[in-house]
Every structure is written in C-alpha cells, then in structure tokens.
C-alpha cells in the first residue's frame, strides 16, 4: 500500500520539498483544463477525517483527490460515532476496515497524526494536529513563494502575530529555513512561546525592523485570545502588529494562511494589494495536495523513494507489498501496534526503545 506518511514537515528534507513543489507545478495545468481531472489515483480511496471545523483545507484536499480521480469520503467529528464517545483509536480502526489508501487527518491534538499512523495501515496526511504542525500548508506556502519570487534561498521571512497558537507557524519556520530562508518571528511576548528560538529563528517584539523582510507572513489573530487576556485588546494589538499600508513596503510579498480578520492582523488595503498572494496560496493548496497524494500513492510504484520516514518503508514490508492479503480485524490492530513498536519514529521517545509496549 503506502510507503510513508506526511506527519511533520520535519520528515522532509530540502530535496523532498522541492520534488513535491515541482510535481505540484506540473499539476497546475490540470486546473486550467475544461475537464479538471487526471486518472492517476483512479480506484484509490482518500478519507478526510476532520475533528475540527475547516473550510479551505478540507475542500482543498477533496478537490485534490478528485482531480486525481480518487474516491473521497468526508467525515466530520460532528454527526459521527465520535459524538457517541468512540475513541480516536476505535474510530481509526473502524474506518481503516474500509481500506482507505490515505487518511487525511485534522484534530485539535498535537501528535495525533503520528498516533493514528501507528494504528492504521493507510498513509496518513497530517492536515493539522493541534498547535503542532500543518505540513501541507508549509508546502503550499513554499510553492507560492517559489512561483512569486523564483526561489526563497536567502530570503528574509517575517512571521507576524500569534505564533503560540499557530500550527502554521511551526511548520513554516522549519520549511522556510530548510529552503534556505531566514525566519524572524514578531508578535506580542504573550503570544511568542518561550523557547521557540531553539528552532533557529529570531524573535522580535516590535515591527520596527520589518523593512528588512522580503516576505511578511501574517497569522490569524483569534478572538478567544482576548478572553485569555493574552493581549489587552484587539485595538492595541492592531496598533502594534497590524500589517497595513504604512508598514508594508512595495517590494514585500504578503502572505496569510486564512481566514483573514480584516482590520485586525491585516488592514483591508493590504489584503487587496498586489503584494498579497493570499488567494494564490489557496490555489496552490489544491495542486500541492495533489502532489502530496500522488507522492504517497502513485510514485510508490516508481522506483524513486517516497518521502516521509523512509525507515517506515524499510521496516514495514507488509505495508509496501501491494496485494498483501488484508489481516483480520484482531490481527490488524496487533499488527499496527507491532508496526509502531518496530518503528523508532516519533512515537517512542529516546529512552523508549523498540519493543516497548504501546499504551
């Protein structure tokens, strides 16, 4: 079946990111055709399992899968067995019985994609796990910047706003740096997590030096942060951190993962300015996710190594061989646990060697 997962941008080296982005560019033509479909994943099942509300990410994955001719099943936590108290594990085991090739997972919990990967034989795509990561967002942002700037080697990228609650920030810090950019974080000290510099980025609490940026990446400022009194008011936040016509230079590119709060993190004029590539990001979402699904499913047939954790492919021969008879239900969960136990991947800590019992 699959040769890997996309759990974290950490798992992709520069070469892998470039390969996906290049493949995405080759898919861009499909969207322009009258018949917006290629048969690459005909007969494959892509299951979107979303435990959080999502408009753009889910529709983007759905479109991407459909353009590759895969069959798509969408499941939202509301209205499903999740509401009846089924655990994440049981939901995943149940859905895995339908033999999806890919499960696209969005949850409010850090590390849940890796956890699900240990339970299901499907390839897992992390579409956002809590405040941890959102790797396809990082890939589409790299794609967008490459289209706009030609490349991001040596670029200075400022990520501005609520870094603490942003999975986008975490994935993008890693991806941008891996592609050769320098990353500066700016925002109120209450929204910049202590210790984030360890990821290799600079931290600023004002926008005084924003001029030095080639790219300004604004993050969504959520209203609930006010009730947690992380900032005194939206007004004060906007006066210090809003990207507006006074702060944005003509040569700078403006990005935002959406949805935008006009008048808070971005002023209306910059959203509508030619520097903003916000709709280009959304467009890129579809082709980049097509490339990700293609990499996971179709390119496995080519000899070229899939991305994700290569050791997963090496240590799990049962998953690699197409046409392996499906294990029985009981054997499956044991097999999945076993696979996880053998995998020295992110699920087991440094002191928890292979063979440790999964809990």
């Amino acid at each position: 079946m699959s040769m890997g997962h996309l759990l974290s941008i950490e798992d992709l080296d520069r070469e892998a990111i470039e390969r996906i982005v290049t493949r995405a560019a080759s898919f861009a033509g499909v969207s322009e055709r009258e018949i917006k479909k290629v048969p690459a994943l005909r007969g494959r099942i892509v299951l979107n399992l979303f435990y959080e509300a999502s408009t753009r990410t889910r529709s983007s994955f759905e479109l991407a899968a459909k353009r590759l001719s895969a069959d798509v099943v969408n499941l939202a936590a509301g209205g499903s067995s999740v509401e009846k108290g089924e655990s994440l594990k049981d939901t995943v085991l149940t859905l895995s019985a339908h033999k999806p090739d890919v499960i696209v997972l969005r949850t409010p919990w850090s590390g849940s994609a890796a956890l699900v990967a240990s339970w299901s034989p499907a390839a897992i795509v992390n579409a956002g796990d809590g405040k941890h990561e959102h790797p396809t967002q990082a890939l589409l942002d790299v794609y967008t910047l490459r289209e706009r700037l030609g490349g991001i080697d040596g670029a200075s990228i400022w990520i501005v706003g609520d870094v603490a609650h942003s999975r986008v920030a975490r994935s993008n810090i890693i991806a941008f740096q891996r592609m050769g950019a320098t990353v500066t974080l700016a925002g109120p000290p209450t929204l910049i997590p202590r210790g984030i510099e360890a990821l290799g980025c600079d931290v600023r609490f004002t926008l005084q030096e924003l001029d030095s940026a080639d790219v300004v990446y604004a993050l969504r400022m959520q209203h609930e942060r006010m009730s947690e009194t992380l900032v005194p008011s939206l007004r004060e936040y906007a006066s210090w951190y809003q990207i507006n016509g006074r702060r944005l230079r003509p040569r700078q590119v403006l990005m935002h993962p959406g949805p935008v709060n006009r008048g808070v993190e971005l002023s209306g004029e910059v959203v509508d300015s030619p520097q903003a590539v916000i709709t280009a990001q959304v467009e890129a979402g579809v082709v980049v996710r097509m490339a990700v699904l293609y990499e996971l499913l179709a390119s496995a047939r080519e000899a070229e190594p899939a991305f994700g954790r290569p050791e997963a492919a090496v240590t799990e021969p049962a998953r690699v061989q197409a046409g392996t008879p499906a294990p029985t239900e009981g054997a499956r969960s044991a097999g999945a646990d076993h696979a996880r136990a053998r995998q020295t991947g992110p699920l087991l800590g440094r002191h928890l060697p292979p063979g440790a019992l999964p809990v």
Binding site: S112, G195, A198, L199, L347
Partner: protein, 448 residues
Amino acid sequence: MEERLLLHQPREPAELLLRDVHVLDPRERIDARHDVRVRGGQIAELGPAETLHPDEGEELIDGQGRCRLLPAFFDPHVHLRTPGQEHKEDLRTGTRAAAAGGFAAVVAMPNTEPVLDSAPLLRSLRDTAAREACVPVGFLGAITRGLEGEQLTEMAELRELGALGFSDDGHAVQSAGTLLKAMRYQRLCGGLLALHEEDRTLSREGSMHEGAVSAALGLRGVPTVAESTMVARDAALAGYENARVHFQHLSCSESVAAIAEAKARGWKVSAEVTPHHLLLTEEDVRGLDTRVKMYPPLATDTDRRALLDGLRAGSLDCIASDHAPHAREEKEVPFEQAPPGTTGLETAFAALHTDLVRTGALELGLLVERMTAGAELFGLPTPLIAPGHAANLTLVDLDAEWIAGEHGWESRSANCCFAGRVLKGRVLMTVAAGTVAHRERALAAVAA
C-alpha cells in the same frame, strides 16, 4: 490513636538464612559479606559470611557473596486507586508491584473516588488493606473535603483512625489561607502535611514543561515557577506556623533552592523526588509518548541535575515513585488528552541504579539511604539490618540485566515511562514486616 499505622494481610513470619550476602546498610555502617538469620520475622543473627548454619525449618538462600541485602525501601507516595478506580490498580496489585520493586511499605494518596476525606472510608480502606495488602500500607487523608481546597476534613478523627497525614495531592491547595488553617489544626491532630505544589493560574492547562520542546511541539507549557513559587509560599507559611510539611515530587532547580533556603532557616520541611524527574527531561517528551506525561512535568537537564545535587546534598530527603497507574485505553489517546502519571514501583530502584549508581553519579549507599528515608518523615521506624529489628529486607542482584516490562507487570497498569529500557539490578526477594512479600522466579537458580 490507632496502634497500627500501616496495615497488611497476615502471613507466616519468615524463617530464613541468607548466607553469604553482601549486606549494605548505610545507617548501621555495614558494607560487607555476612550471614543473616531471620527467625519468626525478626532479624535474629548477623554473622561473618559462611559461619551460620540453617536451623530446621529455615529456608537457605545462598547469596554467593554477590547478592546485596539492603534495608527494604519505603515509598511515601503511591496511588493505589482504591476505592473507585480499581480498573487501574487495587490494594493487592499495587502492593504486589511495591514488593516486586523492593518496597516494604508504601503510603497511598487520597485522590480516590470518592476522595479519602471521611472516617468511614478510611476505616473500610484499612480493613481492606489488612486483608489484601502484600506489603504494609499507610493512608493519607485529604486536607480539604473532596480535594476542593476549601473546607478542612475532620483531620483529628482521621488521625485517630490511623491516617498517617494529609495531602490534596494532584490538587494543590491554592488558597494560602486554607493551608494556614490546616497547619494550625496540625497542632491538635499532628500528621504530616504532604503538598503537591502547583499554582493553577500559572500551570493552567499545560501538558508539559514550558520551554524549547513545548514551543516546538505546540503544547501549552507549565512554567517551573508554577511549582517553585508555591514551595516558597508554603515553606514560609510552615515557618510562620512552625508546621511540619513535606513537599511532594519536586521537579525543578528553583524548588530545590527554595527547600534549601527553608531548611537553612530551620523550618520543618522535607521533600521528595521521583526517579523519572531524576532521569528524564523534556527532551524525552518529544515523541509525545503518553507514558512520559506526568505532573509536575519533566523539565530541563539543568533542573534534573539540580534535583540530583539536591538529593546528594540532603535538601531532598527521599525518593518517591509517585506510582500513578492508568488503564491502557486512558493513555492510548493524544498526549494532551492523556491523564498524567507513570507507574514506577517496579522500576524505581533498577532505573536509578542503572543510570545514576552505575554511571558514578550517586553512591549505592546514598541511594539506599534515600530510598528508605521516607519512613522517618511519617514518624515510622526506619528499617535497619540489625538483630532484634523486624525483617524489612530487599535482596538484589546488581548485575542482573532485564528489560522493563518484558514479562509484564505486577501492577494492573502498564504505563511505565521506563518500559522497554534495559535495566541493571533486579530485586530477588522482598521481606516486608517480617514476611516474604516477593520472590523472583529466578531466585531458586541463584540460590542453588
């Protein structure tokens, strides 16, 4: 006051001759090969190696000069989950785990369902312990009713019925005013006040230590000052009230400093530290394995070293496992949803021996001293290897290598943060309150 503070099921007193065992008792200043006779559950004789001969009816165990005989360990902090959460642990399985780890006595925390905050509950729990416990168990009552931090429990009655002391473990007493009242009331009823320190306005919903790793993982962090500011506050309250308080499972360097200062001022404070805080750090949380989720959370390596220094210097008095069993399905969830806690009774000694004693970071004698020091804090006799004392003994093979959890656990739960690690040092036999509480299956082979 109840005569017996610790309770266990009645069993035949041990009749043993431990021949040519390397006896190590730091308090008795013994570190040499001896023969030790246990008669009627008491240490009867201590002679030079290979000079004693077995009497009729005595079991002979030959240590071949290799096995160490230590005073049995005392754990001031375990969760036996009874009543109410017997799917995680009960008195039988929890005390079997204790015996397997070389502990001859444990102190159970009151955060059960319902909370151990009333006399009838304590009475029934003590009855159960007297029937089921494999090693002696003592109980702490809650400081406040329902652990809600407001109204004091009937502490005097609980003490009369045998409560060793009081704790709101897991639910730190947030109000300084409430805690001060408990300290005042301690003048009437006595009993140690054991404090889990956590300022909830600082820890909020954090699920790990606040630092580089929590920043990278996108998890809400608990700052170390959530603990240390409360330690400083409550030490000052204890000093003011001349109260006797014990700080539970300290986790960071600032707390060690606060304890050291409180002790220097002559305040009556003591403190414990867990094996996991002495051996693991936030780096071990990177994989988001729920077994390493615990409160207080694992902090930095600097904190870990400060705890070790504090343990060596005596700022931290004793080691506690904070054995916190959880069922498989409760831990098999995303990290943020998982309940905090790791089991630890069965691995405490071996993990500390492997990573601290064998690396030269801690002397074996000092480790034994710190693993037995808890008893005195509760006014209980410290186990000694000396004629005339009740036999509380742990026989260990320091060279035996095993993989934690390879043959399952005595505990009902498997959420051990050391599971899968190769450990050196195996408990072969535990004699608790004069009876054999645990015997390693391999012991026969060793004894042959």
